[in-house]
């Protein structure tokens, strides 16, 4: 009598297991844009309390333990801004004299990284800001030290950023003096100290000294020019021998960062308009930013220079 019941239970176990595996494989096979949209919609509905709770926890930790550090950073930056005021004025005057329009400044949105204890956490970080804060897809994400990545999906109150640790990351890069250009992407082999980047596309005739700073080159339109990426630590050669590969130790590691800045796309940028298909397939249209939103500094209207 007992045996058929046990056999029935074993059969239902196998069926449940097969069903779960089927669902998992279906999720694994979903196109990235669908998967990101699905994850974003779940974060806005069923998992919204989880995201809100973790965001609240981050704020509590900052106010409790990191206040001294925040105050120190604030004071240092205030001093720096004070010292550079004269330089900025001089730069603006010179730009005016030669007829170059004022440099466009990206408005910034500060965000908290909601880390998860998984080994792939650093590849795709969750931020506690979204389209309600003015964040949009392709907005660059940086820390005070350097580049982290860019936004790949944005919901109203949270967003995901693809970081430089992700195998899909790539960015145009150049040396600080602009002499050598190429592109960076994650190194295939990581060291015990952590993952690294590789600078590719450098001609064999060009050489870089160890310690050279690498920055974003601005090509492609996602990352503005001049964001520090890292420092050259070793030189190698591509397998076919066509170009040199420089291993770059990044300045900022997404797994260790707790706060980031999202460089919100300037309002006159043509980039989101140029790729309407990608934008529409990956993110919902953001609602208009409220006029008195203090978290998004407003851009000064640009006046054409005579």
């Amino acid at each position: 009598m007992r045996e058929p019941a046990a056999r029935q239970a074993a059969r239902s176990d196998v069926l449940l297991f097969a069903g779960c595996i089927g669902l998992a494989l279906t999720a694994l096979a979903l196109p990235r844009s669908w998967a990101l949209a699905f994850a974003a919609s779940l974060r806005q509905t069923a998992f919204r309390p989880v995201v809100a709770l973790q965001s609240r926890a981050g704020l509590d930790r900052t106010s409790r333990f990191d206040l001294e550090q925040v105050r120190h950073s604030h004071d240092s930056l205030a001093l720096l801004v004070q010292q550079q005021a004269a330089l900025r004025l001089e730069n603006e005057n010179l730009r005016g004299l030669i007829g170059v329009r004022a440099r466009l400044a990206n408005p910034i949105v500060s965000a908290e990284i909601l880390h998860q204890p998984t080994p792939t956490d650093a590849r795709m970080i969750l931020l506690d800001v979204g389209t309600a804060n003015g964040v949009r897809i392709f907005d660059p994400v940086v820390t005070a030290d350097g580049l982290i990545g860019s936004i790949v999906s944005a919901g109203p109150h949270s967003s995901n950023a693809l970081t430089w640790v992700n195998p899909d990351f790539a960015a145009s890069a150049m040396t600080a003096d602009g002499r050598v250009r190429g592109f960076v992407h994650p190194a295939t082999a990581s060291r015990a100290s952590g993952p690294m980047l590789e600078l590719h596309g450098v001609a064999l005739r060009d050489s870089l000294a160890i310690g050279t700073t690498v920055m974003t080159a601005g090509a492609g339109g996602v990352y503005p020019i001049g964001i520090p990426i890292g420092r050259v630590v070793s030189v190698g050669k591509e397998e076919n021998g066509y170009d040199r590969i420089f291993r770059v130790l990044p300045f900022a590691y997404p797994g260790n960062a707790s706060h980031v800045l999202v460089l919100v796309t300037p309002r006159d940028s043509i980039f989101p308009k140029a790729l309407p298909a990608i934008r529409d397939s990956m993110v919902r249209k953001p609602p208009p930013v409220p006029p008195h939103d203090s978290s998004v500094p407003k851009l000064a209207p640009e006046t054409p220079r005579p």
Binding site: L36, L53, T118
Partner: protein, 176 residues
């Protein structure tokens, strides 16, 4: 005066046991999503309370139900960190099913067996997650042999502490 029948009493006590298990799981989830991020910054090797929830529930359930629990926990992982959507679900389903199935092979009332279960479960989940996320073979040794064991160790230590503190609520008899 009417006294409760033995079947009612048994049903009530079973319901009470279930409520206590749910309370421990809620506490672990609260630790995962509020207390831990409010107290420390998550770094490499931090204990994974979601894995503890999965393993503690999986060893109490049949393999099929454990796979469903794995599906739900994997979905939470993938929604919050969609590095490769579906990788967390697949890894958690396999670990949940494996833990429940493995329980029939060993008697999990020994503290060291529980610790080994938490360690191996977390390590296998991490390695599967890395494999399904498309981690390159060159990067795998560092992740699988340095960082994953570190996280498994911290998870096992916390898991043992949870088992010791809540042994009555979880109805786990611990042999010396």
């Amino acid at each position: 005066m009417r006294t409760a029948r033995p079947t009612d009493r048994r049903r009530r006590s079973r319901k009470g046991d279930r409520m206590r298990v749910v309370a421990v799981m809620v506490l672990l989830l609260l630790l995962e999503f509020y207390l831990r991020p409010a107290l420390v910054e998550i770094r490499h090797g931090a204990p994974d309370f979601m894995m503890l929830v999965l393993l503690l529930l999986a060893i109490r359930r049949s393999p099929g139900v454990a796979a469903v629990i794995g599906l739900v926990i994997g979905l939470v992982i993938d929604v919050l960190t969609p590095a490769h959507f579906g990788a967390g679900i697949l890894a958690s389903v396999l670990v949940g099913w494996g833990a429940a199935w493995g329980r029939s092979l060993f008697f999990a009332d020994n503290l060291m067996v529980n610790a080994a279960l938490f360690f191996i479960g977390t390590w296998v989940r991490d390695v599967l997650l890395l494999v399904f996320s498309g981690t390159s073979l060159k990067a795998m040794p560092t992740e699988a042999l340095v960082w994953a064991p570190l996280q498994s160790l911290s998870t096992a230590i916390v898991g043992v502490a949870v088992v010791i503190v809540f042994r009555d609520w979880l109805a786990i008899r611990i042999e010396a």
